[in-house]
């Protein structure tokens, strides 16, 4: 089965996030009202073949632990959706 995995990696709460800070300032500079905290993270999309959605899930989490997220500074979450079998 073909799955579309989406992984969202964000700076852990309380960890310095220079990009978030900068964007926050910039948006306010540009005159946007009501801007509170801003955080900038990474979005990773993976086309993944797996036997089942559970397997895809499980494999994606392994990828995050091993490579995609830094346990010291980042949190992540994984979403897996089944892919429509339409040709590209």
């Amino acid at each position: 089965m073909a799955y579309q995995v989406e992984i969202r990696v964000v700076p852990r709460q309380g960890i310095l996030d220079p990009q978030g800070k900068a964007v926050e300032g910039a948006l306010t500079n540009l005159g946007f009202a009501g801007v509170g905290e801003v955080h900038v993270g990474r979005l990773i999309r993976i086309d993944l073949d797996a036997a089942s959605i559970e397997e895809a899930q499980e494999r994606a989490h392994k990828m995050c632990r091993q490579l995609l997220a830094n346990p010291v500074t980042e949190d992540y979450d994984v979403q897996v959706i089944e892919q429509a079998e339409t040709a590209p």
């Binding site: 990009q19 900068a22 964007v23 910039a26």
Partner: protein, 770 residues
């Protein structure tokens, strides 16, 4: 063989031909050449090869007039890069290349891929890149369009930095000017320098019938299709729409390609290698064949692609970056693959060299392109256009400085100086070059911030110096003089650093050559460059032509950027602009003049662009440079800096504050009987400020007197953080040198830092913030 149009190819109509930038006469030439109607694919091939970018339609006749030979020139124009002998068995390859139009559309990627391309041009000659320089032009950093300019500047600088930093080649220098004439059409020229042993020189030829042709590096996508023709058309609203898929740089793959290519070249398994640059596979394969006097036969379906359903047309014209074409020796494919594999790169054999002299492309066996190679590469018609100076400029030039009334603020003689030091074109470029790794590879003896960059040559006592220079405003006001000065200043910058100027690579950035006023600028500037290169013995070994640089307001300032390389015989001769010790004697070489035309002072203080470019006498210039180099070599000179934009006062300030954290005071007196403005800020040529120890002063003065070069003691270097003092007959400037330094170093940061655009750039989102 019969050529069959592909099913689904559009019919060849007059419009289609025109869209491909080919005139009816050129199209007729194609018909005669083929004896039939070209296929759509063939039309694409011709349009790329006969574009300005590849075919030099409007510049070739002019370029032929440039001097290209000298005993030390190992490779002149026509190859991927020029090569000169720098002694002790070493050779240096160098070339400059523009990426103006891509950078106008997408500054970050445009500039990054510009650096990538020029690096490949150098290492495909067998040289390891050791340095990059960049020559930039933008609109004004103040005023209505400042937002757009910030966006372009931030993106371009980050693009150059990210790419060079990642590949690990130090960016050691360059130049940058801000002027409204570049609004909407910035100039981004990158120059790369590589080092090799003389015998490692290799040229990009496809020789040896039967030898396999291999595609190496990134898979081909739809990137930048027709970039070459794109680069040869004016930027208009439509061109935004016509915009091809933006080329994205991949410096990591470039680094792998660099290492693998050098290994391949040394391995002896290949006969030729070339970057798939502008017009990608087409130009690389045809040019290699033409140089080898051979033909090629390529099966297009073998080319590795990134996207499904790509047509031969798209694959041939794609400008996907980080790709190379390799001609291997027959039967050595496996060895070649092994070397590439080690660097995690793939190679596909896509065709072979033939003796037919024809350029043949097949799609699954069916011939879709068959064109005689020689005329395809060299048959591009060239034109000598008519040139006529725009009368407006003739009139501007006749403006007479004595009409100028000083401004109120000039009551305070220091005011104009601070105004100039705060002018982004003059101010410190630290904000820019601190984003460039200038010290990687541990050869950078003098990095950004002096007249020229200096790189040591390991294993010898030698070094090379490099600079890029061009004052477009001079060229605008007087193309011929402007051309002379661009070359003279580049050479002067090298000499000030202790180097003997050796050779030039030039980047001719001009407007639409079909306009007589633009063609006039082009031909006159080239005449000046040629003359100066001849007198100063710095032949042109290559370069790049970028025409159609226009915006709705008209053409940019004509900007023939001169990249120059020189040789320093002994590392002890390396000299910078920074004043040495307190008490050192300050000496002025050359003559102060009454000129103000085309000066930064006129523009920054009076908002005027007028007058004639400064006069220059090449023989005087040559004498000055010869004498200065002798003095430097004899170890008498502690610092040297030529006067340039901002004139004497700014040059003196630059010597005093060169060390940002410990600026030194200086006191000088000028007795010249000249009005303050031209004396302090005029840009009269052939002047250099040098310093030496008090004890050596008389010997230095005697030396220059003996060489027939005007030289006079004008003052002494003061204490660290002392006063900056200039006394003239009519005015006295006396300010803390730290104030000078602050203004000079803050000018660009205060206009750039902490603004939204800064953030957009950091996010690599590169969005235009109005």
């Amino acid at each position: 063989m019969s050529v069959t149009p592909r099913p689904g190819d559009p019919a060849i109509t007059a419009e289609l031909v025109e869209d491909h930038g080919l005139s009816t006469d050129e199209y007729q030439l194609i018909l005669d050449l083929l004896g039939r109607e070209p296929t759509y694919t063939e039309l694409g091939v011709f349009s790329a090869m006969w574009s300005e970018h590849c075919g030099y339609k409007n510049s070739k006749p002019l370029l032929r007039t440039l001097p290209t030979k000298a005993p030390w020139v190992l490779q002149g124009p026509g190859e991927n890069a020029g090569v000169i002998d720098v002694g002790e068995g070493l050779a240096v390859a160098f070339k400059i290349e523009s990426h103006n139009h891509p950078s106008a559309v997408e500054p970050y990627q445009g500039a990054a891929t510009g650096v990538g391309g020029i690096l490949r041009d150098v290492f495909t000659m067998g040289a390891r890149p050791i340095a990059v320089l960049n020559s930039l032009r933008f609109g004004e950093l103040d005023g209505p369009s400042a937002g757009r300019v910030r966006y372009l500047l931030a993106g371009v600088v980050k693009g150059i930095g990210d790419y060079g930093n990642c590949v690990g080649i130090p960016t050691v220098g360059g130049e940058i000017y801000f002027d409204a004439s570049y609004e909407g059409n910035p100039l981004v020229n990158a120059m790369a320098i590589g080092l090799m042993k003389r015998e490692e020189l290799i040229t990009a030829v496809a020789e040896g019938v039967g030898n396999p042709i291999m595609a190496v590096g990134s898979k081909t996508g739809r990137d930048g299709i027709h970039g070459a023709t794109f680069a040869s058309a004016e930027l208009t609203e439509e061109s935004e729409a016509k915009r091809p898929m933006v080329q994205v740089g991949d410096p990591f793959t470039e680094k792998l390609l660099l290492e693998a290519s050098l290994e391949l070249i040394r391995s002896g398994h290949i006969v030729g290698i070339q970057d798939m640059g502008a017009a990608g596979l087409v130009s690389s394969s045809t040019e290699m064949a033409a140089r080898g006097g051979t033909g090629v036969d390529i099966e297009i379906s073998k080319v590795p692609v990134r996207e499904p359903g790509m047509t031969p047309y798209e694959i041939l014209l794609s400008e996907t970056q980080e790709r190379m074409l390799v001609v291997a020796k027959e039967g050595r494919e496996e060895e070649v693959r092994a070397i590439l594999g080690r660097w995690e790169l793939d190679a596909e054999t896509i065709g072979h060299v033939t003796d037919t002299g024809n350029y043949v492309i097949r799609e699954n066996g069916a011939v879709v392109v068959e064109i005689p190679g020689e005329p395809l590469v060299d048959g591009c018609p060239t034109y000598t256009r008519e040139g006529r100076e725009n009368p407006r400029i003739t009139e501007l030039r006749s403006w007479n400085p004595s009409e100028l009334r000083p401004r109120e603020e000039e009551q305070d003689p220091a005011w104009a100086l601070f105004t100039l030091l705060d002018d982004p074109t003059i101010a410190s470029k630290r904000w820019i070059h601190e984003q460039y790794d200038s010290t990687v590879r541990t050869n950078t003896v003098v990095g950004p911030g002096s007249d020229a960059a200096v790189l040591r040559l390991r294993g010898t006592r030698r070094a090379i110096a490099a600079t890029t220079d061009c004052n477009g405003r001079y060229v605008y006001l007087n193309p011929y003089r402007g051309g002379l000065i661009a070359v003279a200043e580049a050479a002067r910058n090298l000499v000030c650093s202790g180097a003997l100027p050796r050779a030039v690579t030039d980047n001719l950035n001009f407007g639409n050559p079909l306009k007589p006023e633009v063609y006039h600028q082009l031909s006159e500037a080239v005449r000046g460059i040629g003359e100066a290169c001849t007198v100063l013995e710095t032949p042109v070994t290559g370069g790049n032509v970028s025409l159609y640089n226009e915006n709705p307001a008209g053409a940019i300032y004509p900007t023939p950027t001169i990249g120059m390389v020189g040789v320093i015989e002994d590392i002890d001769h390396v000299t910078t602009l920074a004043f040495g010790e307190e008490g050192d004697t300050v000496i002025l070489l050359g003559r102060n003049t009454d000129e103000l035309g085309g000066s930064e002072y006129l523009k920054a203080v009076h908002g005027m662009v007028a007058g004639d470019a400064p006069a220059i006498d090449l023989q005087e210039e040559r004498k000055l440079q010869g004498a200065l180099l002798e003095a430097i070599r004899s170890g008498l000179i502690r610092s040297a800096h030529d006067t340039a934009e901002g004139g004497f006062a700014v040059a003196l300030a630059e010597c005093a504050i060169a060390r940002a954290d410990s600026p030194v005071g200086v006191e000088v007196e000028l007795e010249d009987d000249l009005p303050p403005a031209p004396l302090l800020y005029g840009e009269g040529q052939s002047r250099v400020i040098v310093s030496c120890s008090e004890a050596d002063a008389d010997r230095v003065l005697a030396h220059f007197a003996a060489s027939g070069v005007e030289a006079r003691r004008i003052g002494r270097v003061g204490e660290v953080k002392g006063r900056f003092r200039i006394v003239t007959r009519e005015a006295v400037i006396d300010v803390p040198v730290e104030a000078i330094a602050r203004t000079y170093y803050d000018a660009i940061p205060r206009r750039m830092d902490g603004r939204p655009i800064d953030v957009a750039t950091a996010l690599d989102s590169e969005v235009f913030v109005p």
